[in-house]
């Protein structure tokens, strides 16, 4: 049985296993062109027999390979050639040139194939707009468990971005062409061999002396590409592909443009980006502001977060330590505020974070260079989010305990937009100086001190995960125990949920099944899942489910609770792969 199975997802980038003709290969991978055919790991794709295009052997083809894209003529050529793709073929080519509609049509017409080849892929090189249109279109129209192979496209500097964009297999074309032209490939450049002053590469070909023969140079060039593919594969497994990409795109402007265009295609990226995970999120460039994790946090906060019942609000600076409460500065702030106010932390790239959500992913997981200088884009982002948080109700006092110019600017804009006035308590002093802290305390004097931090934090995280109202339902008749942030919710001595600080989420038990709204209920066929629910067992799944989300699984024979490994759309359309890791199950 030939198939592709996705293992881990990190945005559109993913790892997987391709199995064909009894051999298997791990993706992302670098395909090798050999005389015998294309080598995908251990899998040999041949020109005939398991042919992937209809030109056979040394005879004239029955059909030409109409792969040189001219979208205007492709509609005709494609229709005639698709007829030639016979069932014994393991892979088929998605034509369509720049025409996204044609590409979509071709990809969905070829849904039986575990491997789809991107026709005219080389035309996407250094064409950020085309790349960020075509690749998502093909991925969206194809089945989620079809591997995408883009031949003739990879260059060392573009590999991480291509994989992030959603391509599973790349090839060594560049290594070959460069070697034939006496060109030496490095991570960020290609140089004529004769102009190379010294080689710092530790690959066997370079260590053996100069890679001057075609074969030697080919070995080095391929190793350079292969390294980038492996780094990307490891980064997906670690949940840090985006970090790798943001680091690598600096070497070519077109790569920066391509990532921006991809981010503009937000739904495509967001749907595939895990909601809760343990990896650190590094916000080292302005692209971080447009990350799906960041925009999704703001979106969920806006739609799902219900602030605690407080008459005062206080605006605080972020801390280097995460979650914020673990830092020295915040423990001082906490003493001064004494549970009397809605606490909002200004930060980049998250914008503005209420205290209750300080433990969720990625708020507890990000790191950002802190210089005290914030860009206009960052200030605008903080302003939007702060305004959303404060706009819901009127506060008797808004205390701005911030000093950095950028923070102050954001607060000033919010004051103007909302027509409110803030009391500044740290303008000239350091926020943690005794004087400032005394000022802060003074600002909140007389307000109620009855906010139950543990309960409110738990309620807000549950809302953040499952939607408004889930937290209240969870806490109904229950109590919150444990030591922050390792809390658990119990009712009648039974645990409903446990906080998992490493993932920034709550892990629910079956006792909490009523807390799940239909948006997070996966319907399965008539069986009792053991460790996991596989995609083919899923009858239907709501579209809003993201990898990492907590879900309730319901079928005629069992009810389970667990963590989604793929999006709802992928669960519904995939033939393979783990859909949900089951934590608790109950037979009916």
């Amino acid at each position: 049985m030939d198939y592709f199975e996705v293992k881990e997802r990190d945005g559109p980038g993913r790892t997987g296993e391709l199995r064909m003709g009894g051999e298997s290969a791990e993706t992302p991978l670098l395909a090798e062109h050999t005389r015998a055919g294309v080598l995908l790991g251990e899998i040999l794709l041949k020109e005939s027999g398991t042919a992937y295009h209809p030109a056979v052997g040394d005879t004239a083809p029955d059909y030409p390979s109409p792969l040189r894209a001219d979208e205007r003529v492709l509609a005709e050529l494609e229709e005639r050639s698709t007829a030639a793709a016979s069932p014994e073929h393991v892979a088929a080519t998605v034509h369509g040139g720049e025409d996204v509609g044609l590409r979509r049509r071709a990809a969905s017409a070829l849904e039986g194939f575990p491997l789809l080849i991107l026709g005219s892929a080389p035309a996407l090189d250094a064409s950020p707009r085309k790349l960020s249109n075509v690749v998502p279109a093909v991925r969206e129209a194809a089945r989620p468990d079809a591997a995408i192979y883009a031949p003739g496209l990879a260059l060392p500097w573009s590999v991480p971005l291509l994989i992030y964009a959603g391509i599973d297999l790349l090839d060594d074309s560049a290594a070959r062409i460069a070697a034939a032209r006496n060109t030496y490939l490095e991570r960020d450049r290609a140089s004529p061999l004769e102009e190379l002053e010294e080689t710092v590469c530790p690959c066997p070909a370079c260590l053996d002396g100069n890679p001057e023969s075609f074969e030697g140079l080919l070995r080095h060039n391929r190793a350079t590409l292969e390294t980038e593919v492996r780094l990307s594969r490891a980064a997906v497994a670690r949940g840090q592909l985006r970090e790798l990409v943001e680091g690598r795109i600096r070497t070519k402007p077109w790569l920066v443009a391509a990532l921006r265009h991809l981010d503009e295609n937000r739904d495509y990226v967001e749907e595939r980006t895990p909601t809760f995970r343990r990896s650190e999120m590094l916000a080292c460039g302005e692209e971080a502001l447009r990350r799906a994790e960041v925009t999704r946090f703001a979106e969920r906060m806006h739609g799902r977060y219900e602030p605690p019942d407080a008459d005062a609000a206080v605006i605080l600076p972020c801390s280097a330590g995460k979650p914020y409460f673990t830092s020295r500065s915040h423990s001082k702030f906490r003493r001064a505020t004494g549970d009397r106010a809605l606490e909002i932390v200004l930060t980049s790239p998250m914008g503005a974070v209420p205290r209750e959500l300080e433990t969720v992913y990625p708020v507890a997981h990000y790191d950002v260079p802190v210089t005290g200088h914030w860009s206009e884009e960052e200030i605008a982002w903080m302003t939007t989010n702060l305004e959303n948080l404060l706009g819901g109700r009127e506060y008797g006092e808004i205390v701005a305990h911030v000093r950095d110019e950028g923070y102050v600017e954001a607060v000033k804009r919010v004051e103007e937009n909302l027509g409110v006035e803030a009391r500044y308590t740290s303008i000239d002093n350091h926020p943690t100086s005794d004087e400032s802290l005394a000022d802060l305390e003074e600002g909140l004097r007389g307000f109620r001190t009855d906010i139950d931090r543990y309960a409110e934090g738990t309620r807000c995280v549950a809302d953040y995960m499952l939607g408004k109202g889930a937290g209240t339902a969870l806490l109904d008749g229950a109590e919150v125990r444990g030591r922050y942030p390792s809390l658990r919710v119990e009712r009648d001595g039974e645990v409903l949920a446990t906080a998992v600080p490493a993932y920034g989420s709550l892990a629910f038990t079956l006792r909490a099944r009523d807390v799940f709204p239909s948006d997070y209920v996966v319907e399965i066929e008539d069986f009792v899942p053991m460790g996991s629910v596989l995609a083919p067992g899923v009858v239907d799944a709501p579209e809003g489910i993201r990898p990492g989300d907590e879900v309730l699984v319901e079928g005629p024979s069992a009810t389970c609770v667990g963590r989604a490994r793929m999006s709802g759309d992928e669960m519904a359309r995939s033939r393979r792969g783990v859909a949900v890791d089951v934590r608790h199950r109950e037979e009916i």
Binding site: A60, R68, A75, L155, A178, T183
Partner: protein, 348 residues
Amino acid sequence: MTVAELVRELREKRRERERPKDPEEPSAHWPGTDRVGHDVMTSYTVILRTRGCRLASGSGCTVCGYPFEGTGGVGAREVRRQLETALADAPDESLYLKLFTSGSLLDEWELPVDAQRAVVEALRSDGRVARLSIETLPGFVTEETLSRIDGPYELEVATGLETSSDAVRQLCLNKALTFEDYAGAVEAARGFGADVKTYVLLKPPFLPEPTALRDAVRSGIDAFDAGSESVSLNLCNVQRGTLVEHLHRRGEYRPPWLWTAHEAVRRIKRYAGDRLVISDPVASGKKRGPRNCGECDDSAARALERFSLEQEPSILDGADCSCKTEWEQRLLLEEHTHHPNPLTSIDG
């Protein structure tokens, strides 16, 4: 949009910019040297201006830029004038006259019967022509049409098969013709006692280089099997107003490598034995023509020309260049990637 529609659209766009042609002036004429059987003859090529190819009046081939050579009102008088002008410059010796139009000389829609007869009369009275080659689509080759142009010379019918694959001819070339039509024409010509020369096109649009190579070799072999006496391998170049030009502009067509032509000629010749395999690399070394790396284009093209005269495969072995490695790699990669110009940004 279909290929046929796109070809027509591109052609109409181009036609608007064409100046009207003088019906009394031939399109072109030039002397040369050609292999005929075991001999080498002085040849003279004349391209008569006619109404133009009948196929092109509908849609036309994806590679052919000749439709703009056509003009209205060419009858017997005009053809006589054209021949007079052309032959005035011909060498004063026994000639192998290659008399072409931009279409089919035997097509009476293109060149009326009395004009065709006028041609024969003119050649008869000129007296220098020992061998006449005329170009035509296979569909116009019958005993009747051939007898119209028969005269005191050996007759050769040159016909553009382009490829023996009907699918490639239809999809890539948009040329309305089947292999069966061609085989029938060969039979008719041979029955009449004429020789047949078959044109095979190396690298129609949409075919990757290695597929194009196989297609050309296969087609050459099929042409010989059908009874053709010689095969002429035409190397596709980028002509104005064609679909090929449109693709070329977008980086989606590269004319064939001269190394591919060498390889095709070598393989066809291996099958042909004593029969002639020739190739005249028009526009070689130019951006719009067949080429290698730029350094070796001249020597590779010269080798093809010499081979065409001497029919000696070792002539091709003499040409070499370091770019052969890149050509080999591209053949390997295009076999798998189906794209003409992978990784153009590699150097940037």
